[in-house]
Symmetry: C2
Subunit: 159 residues, 2 copies
DNA sequence: TTGCTTGCAAATTTTTTGCAAAAAC
DNA sequence: GTTTTTGCAAAAAATTTGCAAGCAA
């Protein structure tokens, strides 16, 4: 696990922050708490995890560090059709699938979807920087469960 | 302008509500306040408009009626990378462009974009019901303004 | 009349902020 | 030693909810 935005870094993809100037244990733990996680947790869940390592950390600090990391491009924040932001350690270009049955948010790496032709927009005078695609429906697990007529798990959109 | 979820309706595309049972002035005005609007206003702006017609209406009622209308499929709610929901009277399938310069949210009717091939997902066991595409960048107006080196309007993401 | 909907106010939920103390460099 | 970041508590912002009163059917 690489430390974050610290002078001791050798990493090639670590960019010095415009806003954040110092590496702290809190920042590092917030970053670590997300690594390898594919559940797209909410801030509170990240707080819960980091709190185990740093019992004195506050939720405000978690939010501040999440912002720093997003700004730095080391994580992504997702605002789906929910009231709270989710956070995603996967920074490469990808989309998301939201299961309306179980509430899971799943990373999608769709070759096709990424080939959305946005050049017509440029011809219309728009300048496109990025785009988000979210697909809704039923995930593989829930769809299979329904096929075998097993009772569904209740939808949990909030943890 | 058609009234909403009322027995007197003749409209072909009005669906009787599962939850809402009665048509009220409040519901009607909330719906009317959105008709013909392409700015994707926040709940508070809709409240401001309806308040002119019904000075005693409360924000809570506006929220309740917006929910009813969304549930009924008569309007859409949009959660972009903002802290509050926007509402959209356009219920036909379309996407959105968010101008990062001026903050406007613009309806996109992209022929190409709607042809995103989601069939690979079905082969993977997913059941797809719908999808959202939001494109970010600079709108036509802001892009033109920049080309003529006129000063940009400040970005206003919240009203 | 019946019971759904409203208005009001208070509660909730999520995120942000001010400020003194602690930590990083 | 100087400046940034943290922890705490309080504020802010958006939305939801309980409940008595009002209104639609």
């Amino acid at each position: 696990m690489k430390p974050i935005s610290s002078g001791r870094l050798v990493s090639t993809h670590v960019v010095r922050l415009a806003t954040r100037k110092r590496a702290t244990r809190q920042l590092e733990q917030v970053f670590k708490a997300l690594q390898g996680d594919h559940t797209h947790p909410f801030a509170h869940e990240i707080y819960r995890r980091v709190h185990k390592k740093l019992p004195r950390i506050s939720l405000a600090t978690v939010y501040r560090n999440l912002h720093s990391l997003v700004e730095e491009g080391k994580i992504r924040s997702l605002l789906l059709d929910e009231q709270a932001a989710r956070y995603d350690p996967e920074t490469s270009e990808h989309d998301h699938f939201v299961c309306e049955r179980c509430g899971r948010v799943i990373d999608l790496f769709l070759r096709r979807a990424r080939r959305i032709d946005l050049t017509p927009l440029a011809k219309d005078g728009y300048v496109v920087t990025t785009h988000n695609l979210t697909v809704y429906g039923m995930c593989q697990v829930c769809a299979a469960r329904r096929r075998t007529s097993r009772p569904p798990r209740p939808a949990v959109r909030k943890p």
